[in-house]
């Protein structure tokens, strides 16, 4: 069985999703590799989040999704979750769990039936909290955190599972510029550690700054796929969003200090 430090690529072929009789995703193919960040881009309703959920095995789909050559559909939910971790935009958790308890949920896939927490579990939780810069939040109640803090905790929960592949659904949406930048830098850190990341992004500038390759969707179909610089370029952006891309027109930001890393 492939464990935490194993690297895995994810490949999808001919993935289609039909929801309520309507086909919202047509014949999508993609590939993501260790050390690489793939952006899923497109206007609202293009099917980005649907695609991400299908890859995570949370929606019924046609076609084939493979992890390291193995068909995901043949895996049990537990085995799948050991390889792919999905981070929702917001958690539906409403109970008064502490941050540490929330992150510990990510260890579910590694627990035995009787399981208290093993030393491995504790190490993985500590490591995940540290990586996501959420260790200071450890004893706080999850529901009382800001959206940005919650996002970091959800990332830590995903990291605690040691899954090599991470699927993030709009991780920077609703975050302020500082929080958003912290999350984007974390994404780069994880890529440097040979995670495979697929990230739904709204902000094309974020995609340009953070991701290596991109897949541009429109009405459930892939319009363009390739390096992010090629995909986020005047031609495809005009076709899909109906706007002209102006290079260097946006105000840029960068971290003011470097002591966080």
């Amino acid at each position: 069985m492939r464990n935490g430090d194993g690297h895995s690529s994810l490949r999808a072929q001919g993935v289609s999703v039909t929801l309520g009789g309507r086909t919202v995703l047509h014949d999508v193919g993609l590939e993501a590799n260790p050390g690489e960040v793939l952006a899923l881009l497109g206007p609202n309703g293009a099917g980005k989040s649907t695609l991400l959920k299908a890859l995570a095995g949370l929606l019924p789909y046609e076609g084939r999704v493979e992890i390291a050559g193995v068909d995901v559909a043949s895996l049990s939910p537990r085995t799948r979750a050991k390889r792919v971790s999905y981070v929702p935009q917001r958690s539906l958790l409403r109970s008064a769990l502490s941050v540490e308890e929330v992150v510990a949920l990510g260890r579910y896939v590694h627990g035995g039936s009787f399981g208290g927490m093993s030393n491995n579990d504790r190490d993985a939780i500590d490591h995940a909290l540290e990586t996501a810069h959420a260790d200071v939040l450890r004893d706080r109640i999850f529901t009382q955190l800001s959206v940005g803090e919650q996002q970091r905790v959800l990332l830590a929960r995903a990291l605690a599972s040691n899954a090599p592949i991470l699927l993030l659904d709009e991780p920077t949406a609703a975050l302020d510029v500082g929080e958003g930048m912290a999350v984007l830098r974390l994404i780069r850190t994880l890529a440097a550690r040979k995670h495979t990341l697929i990230v739904v992004l709204h902000d094309l500038a974020d995609a340009r700054s953070t991701t290596d390759r991109a897949l541009l969707l429109k009405e459930g179909r892939v319009v363009e796929q390739g390096s992010t610089a090629d995909v986020v370029s005047p031609g495809p952006i005009r076709d899909v969003y109906g706007v002209s891309l102006i290079e260097n027109a946006r105000i840029g930001f960068e971290p003011a200090d470097t002591d966080t890393e």
Partner: protein, 324 residues
Amino acid sequence: MRLYPLLFLLLFVAGVLAVLVGSGDLTDPVLRDTFLKLRGYRLAAAFLAGAALAVGGVVVQGLFRNPLASPSVLGTTAGASFGGQVALLAYGVAGVGGSFIVPEMLVPIGCFVGALGALAVLLLFLRVTQDLLALLLTGFVLSALFLSLSAFVTSVAQETWELGRAVVSFSLGSVSGTGPRQLAFALPLIAVALVACWFWGRSLDLLLSGEEEAQSMGANVGAVRWWSAIWVSVLVAGAVSVGGNVGFVGLVIPHMLRPFAGTKHRRLIPAAALAGGIFLVGCDIVARLVPSRSEIPLGVVTGLIGAPLFLLLLIRLRRERAYA
């Protein structure tokens, strides 16, 4: 954590009181043993039923992510209750089963058949719809159906005074007539179901974040739903078969415990089993203490104590924003 020492102390106190309190005179050497034995059965029945209902409440509240859920939302409580009443009626009117089943076992068996019938319909719908809301609605409809059938049985039973009394008393909940055979029947079922619920505890923890997130974290959501429905039904059937239809335990006890035991199910479930048992033993003592022409039905006492307790908890929880 001082929760468990406290619970065991309470259990000890409630146990001693349950044996000492009552209308019988313990100084009479001839009757003393009989009284003690009867009160012992009663204590065991109340504890078992309370433990089963409280844990059923914890599981159902986790499954539906709804703090207002009680084990009766699945409809299997009403099914068990209806089954028990039909068994009473069948025995009283036609003497059914008298020759091949010991009469006192008719009601427990009726309860289980009733609960299993309701469960079968529930699982059938669950298999077809795969949807939590559909499960809740099916449970609600089943509950309504069995309650109206129960009302019909109750009205039919009024033709004989004795039978009418037995049916009404059963549906209001009572542990006063529970004997060793019923206990021996319910104990293993409840014990197995309690352990099974504890095993599902980790999956129920994941469900606190909703089904989609739970699934993404590796929970087999379909299996959790399926087995939760089954084990809660077994718990409820066991509880009804030794204690009749007793409400409020499954709703109040989980709420009372969460501030102390936390939200994690593996901690909550054993604590709820103890606390639920203590609560019902306590309610049964109150039922014996309050002066009235006959004993106040147990289901009435749990309501009288449980409703104000629940409202108090609700105010406190709201103030602390422990529950969104």
